[in-house]
């Protein structure tokens, strides 16, 4: 699917979605993260919890994406290459749910980076300058969401936040690596001889 159709689809799906107050959204996420900080000792645990939460969100929102796109008459054909998946995610998926598009940077046939310039989750956030916050991945929710939603369409991926505006970088970058294309079949014993 061409880049401009993906973007146009994303925009019109975004128009149809019911909206929430961006500040409420950012503040709710912020309190969620601070609660996790209180509950867990290490930043690894916090990041892991955020990723798990994102995973639960991701497995559910992929169906919504496919159903509403279908309802709007858009054709989202099965991706023939991982690059197409990346474009659909960045331009249509992100735009539909968050109102912001991401840029795609292909690294190889089975991995890409998503660059997010405006991050609705971190609207008012400033990380304290204490060195223990160096490793916290504030927006790790996105990694879980991507992993969950791609798993539902049979792509096993690993996502990590490699750059974070809150940590001083100029852009938020999420690296997505394709590990396996899951195939459910009848099993090897049913293969034709």
């Amino acid at each position: 699917m061409s880049k401009s159709t993906a973007a146009a689809n994303g925009h019109s799906l975004w128009q149809k979605m019911p909206k929430a107050n961006a500040e409420l959204f950012a503040l709710t996420y912020g309190t969620l993260v601070t609660e996790l900080v209180r509950d867990y000792e290490s930043t690894e645990d916090i990041n892991e919890q955020l990723e798990k939460m994102g995973y639960s969100i991701g497995v559910r929102c992929v169906d919504e994406f496919l159903a509403k796109a279908d309802q709007a008459g858009m054709v989202i054909p099965p991706c023939r290459a991982f690059a197409e998946t990346a474009e659909v995610l960045a331009k249509t998926g992100f735009r539909m749910f968050l109102g912001v598009s991401a840029e795609v940077q292909m690294i190889s046939d089975s991995s890409f980076s998503l660059l997010i310039y405006e991050n609705p989750l971190s609207l008012f956030v400033e990380l304290p300058s204490d060195p223990k916050w160096k490793d916290i991945k504030y927006s790790n929710l996105y990694c879980g969401i991507l992993r969950g939603s791609l798993e539902q369409v049979n792509l096993r991926v690993e996502c990590t936040m490699v750059k974070d505006v809150l940590q001083g970088d100029d852009v938020n970058e999420i690296r997505v690596d394709l590990k396996e294309v899951l195939v459910d079949g009848a099993g090897e014993e049913y293969d034709e001889e």
């Binding site: 497995v59 559910r60 929102c61 992929v62 169906d63 919504e64 496919l66 159903a67 509403k68 279908d70 309802q71 054709v75 054909p77 099965p78 023939r80 539902q152 369409v153 049979n154 459910d184 009848a186």
Partner: protein, 151 residues
């Protein structure tokens, strides 16, 4: 147009929802429904494998995998819609019913809005959401009275 029943099968073949949609729907016990669900799931998979026309990558360009899409029988028409996430929505109706495709797609949207957004609903488990069943009933009532309307 008279709709008969709806059933939804998850990606492992288990039945997650069944519902009569009209007064003519057959009275089938839950165990029978479970059997129907898994039989249909297996037949769907076999049909995809047995298809003489194997499309490249075993995927047709605008839809999920090949598999059973329609069954026309003497007293019944069945339509199946398999989502890209391997959930199958199957609806049966009396012959001559139109708009089954439309109804299936709308039910998919209702599934995403009512069942998936329920925080207590676990994926792949039977759907026990009042909101979903109510919305499906309203949809069927609306379609039977007025024909399809764009949302």
């Amino acid at each position: 147009m008279v709709f008969l029943s709806l059933f939804i099968v998850n990606k492992s073949g288990g039945l997650i929802h069944h519902r009569p949609l009209g007064p003519n729907a057959p009275q089938i016990g839950t165990n029978e429904w479970l059997r129907i669900g898994s039989t249909f799931h297996s037949l769907h998979a076999i049909a995809a494998e047995a298809s003489p026309l194997r499309l490249p990558g075993n995927k047709n360009p605008y839809g999920a995998d090949d598999g059973i899409e329609e069954i026309h029988a003497g007293g019944l028409e069945l339509r199946c819609f398999q989502t890209r996430t391997d959930v199958k929505f199957v609806i049966t109706a009396e012959p001559g019913t139109s708009d089954m495709e439309y109804v299936l797609k709308e039910i998919y949207v209702l599934y995403t809005d009512c069942a998936l957004k329920d925080p207590f609903y676990e994926l792949e488990m039977p759907i026990r959401c009042e909101l979903f069943t109510q919305a499906v009933d309203n949809l069927i009532e609306h379609v039977e009275k007025n024909g399809p309307s764009k949302r």
